[in-house]
Subunit: 365 residues, 2 copies
């Protein structure tokens, strides 16, 4: 065995502190661990010895014997994405305040990565997991079930999974989308584009086909699509598959698709974008077509930002409570550690439609 296995230079242990202080190991452990009773005198001596040696508790060893790691696992699609970065910040702010640290793993929407990430967290013995899962089908949630079976509390964030009966913290995607599209319709628009929908290879011709496709994909996208259809239905505007973008979700494709919708015989006069990249993609298409917003085309999109406010025109956007989303998820999870019974329900946070100037009546009105 190497001389310093697990015991690198300058890493005194409780035993050494005890020796230095001339007390038993348990006494040192008690004062350093902050539990049990210890007389003031000995306490002082232990503290002095610890300070002298520069003692720092070994959280690994502590976790080994307590079975608690004071660490939360977080699984999201992409920590580099401002949306998830905000959620993660919410999670780490509130968990840190309650003594927990976080290990964050990105999956890039790949299910295999998600399974691997879950295993890493299980192996590292995190006390709980918060996950924005890409899983939808009943068959794709085995890894989440595995964690639960091992007694690890799990909370879903951003995306609910119906078949799972877990606490989920999400926003009112469907209502938010409906409200936005309603505003477009109220301004007089009847040709409203939807960018973007489910990543189907081909655009389903029917509304039913589209919804089926949506239910096989990201929960948020499906909800937003439903909100869009809700608004159309309420206004008795027929659904036109030509006006919804499906397929790979990239800014470039959004630009192409919006250009296509703009070129339709019965031209689109308003766009609803479900993500930031969809908004910038749409804006590029407008510019390329020499169209001006809101005179020629109205626009509302998801995910407000400072940029949206300084655009010309200032953009009407949906603001998601990203930080709160993470904070609430962490709270729900941490509460179970304090004995709170998991309520296994959907916690829906409200988004906010920030009205600015990107909506006006359609050209002919």
């Amino acid at each position: 065995m190497p001389a310093d296995r697990g015991q690198a230079a300058g890493r005194p242990t409780i035993s050494e502190v005890a020796a230095e202080a001339g007390v038993g190991r348990a006494t040192a452990a008690r004062t350093l661990g902050g539990y049990g009773y210890v007389s003031p005198e000995l306490r002082e001596r232990v503290l002095a010895a610890a300070a002298k040696l520069g003692y720092r508790t070994n959280a690994l060893a502590r976790s080994m014997s307590t079975g608690v790691s004071h660490t939360l696992g977080v699984i999201v699609a992409d920590i580099g994405n401002p949306f998830f970065a905000g959620v993660v910040r919410g999670i780490s702010d509130t968990s840190r305040a309650r003594g927990f640290d976080t290990i964050v793993l990105s999956t890039y929407e790949d299910l295999d990565e998600e399974v691997a990430a879950t295993n890493v967290l299980i192996d590292k013995r995190v006390d709980g997991v918060i996950i924005a899962s890409a899983a939808v089908d009943r068959g794709e949630v085995a890894h989440i079930r595995a964690a639960m079976d091992r007694g690890i509390p799990v909370v879903l964030v951003d995306r609910a999974i119906a078949s799972l009966d877990l606490d989920a913290v999400v926003i009112d995607n469907r209502d938010a989308a409906r409200e936005a599209v309603e505003m477009l319709i109220a301004a007089g628009h009847r040709r409203v584009g939807f960018v973007w929908g489910p990543p189907a290879a081909e655009a389903p011709a029917t509304r039913r086909g589209l919804l089926t496709e949506a239910s096989r994909n990201l929960w948020t996208d499906g909800e937003r699509l439903r909100g869009y259809l809700d608004a159309l239905d309420d206004a008795r505007i027929p659904f036109d598959p030509e006006l919804v973008m499906v397929g790979r979700k990239t800014e470039e494709r959004a630009t192409q698709e919006v250009a296509r919708m703009l070129a339709l015989p019965d031209r689109m006069t308003a766009v609803f974008c479900t993500e930031t990249d969809a908004v910038t993609g749409a804006l590029r298409a407008l510019r390329a077509a020499g169209l001006s917003c809101p005179r020629d085309i109205a626009l509302i999109g998801f995910d407000d930002s400072s940029w949206a406010a300084v655009m010309e025109p200032p953009l009407t956007m949906i603001e998601q409570p990203v930080h709160q989303l993470g904070a609430k998820a962490a709270e729900v999870l941490l509460d179970t550690f304090e004995g709170a019974e998991p309520r296994r329900e959907m916690h829906t946070l409200r988004s906010r439609l920030v009205v600015r100037s990107s909506v006006a009546p359609p050209p002919g009105a």
Copy 2:
């Protein structure tokens, strides 16, 4: 002792797997841990038993005995900030690919938080630390020294600390700023504003005072300020303290300060912004003043984004290689684990000036 201390439901240990397979614990440990020699037959039996019981290795226990946690600690100002989110993504992508997970802590530029974060990482026995430190003075780096003294390799990212003799991965802030300001000057501008500088309570009247102030604060800000001054010097344009913003760095204050500079008798005709929020703040001021970019005022800023490209006009911006910044830092750190000698040098990554249309000659030209 509670019956299941550290041994919750459904968490078989190596001993149980060994029993199930009818072999010794060491044999099970060897095959499950992937080390040592084990005959194919026994190997199979162990694997089968492990699969049957749903065995997952306990990384904590492994770390206890090996002294290696396969975890990196990351300390940044704010994981919710897109810049750091990008850096963190770079770090976790490359460390994950090499078998390491990350614990990320935000300090919000608070030194006490930074010290606390460092201690958390020491306690959790991370194998190395990557830090974008807010420390500058020799007196503020004790916590980093403490980590080093405990044998934990440390790599600085985004911000160098001269007094520390560590590997640092940064971008060419000074050159980037100079190049941008040079472009402004080349277009004919002589009244170039700088938003924002060091958070001094009051604007130092002299150039020297400003630099002193800057050296007491964030390294990046100081470098960018130097680049600005470099460009001014080369063009023999006198430095005017009225044209640099100091103090709290918020979007609102940027707006106020730019408004002030715009109202100067000898009006500013170009602005250089060192951060995204400074850019949007400046843009608000322009709009409020009814000025148009680039006709009335030219602008260049740090941190390119999709938004900058769809602005009217499209903005000329400096693109930082955020992902690469993190990736390189992780590489340098991970390499030391494979025995590479830390080179303790500054690794400077190149930024890129993305030229678009926000720069034109000043009004009178």
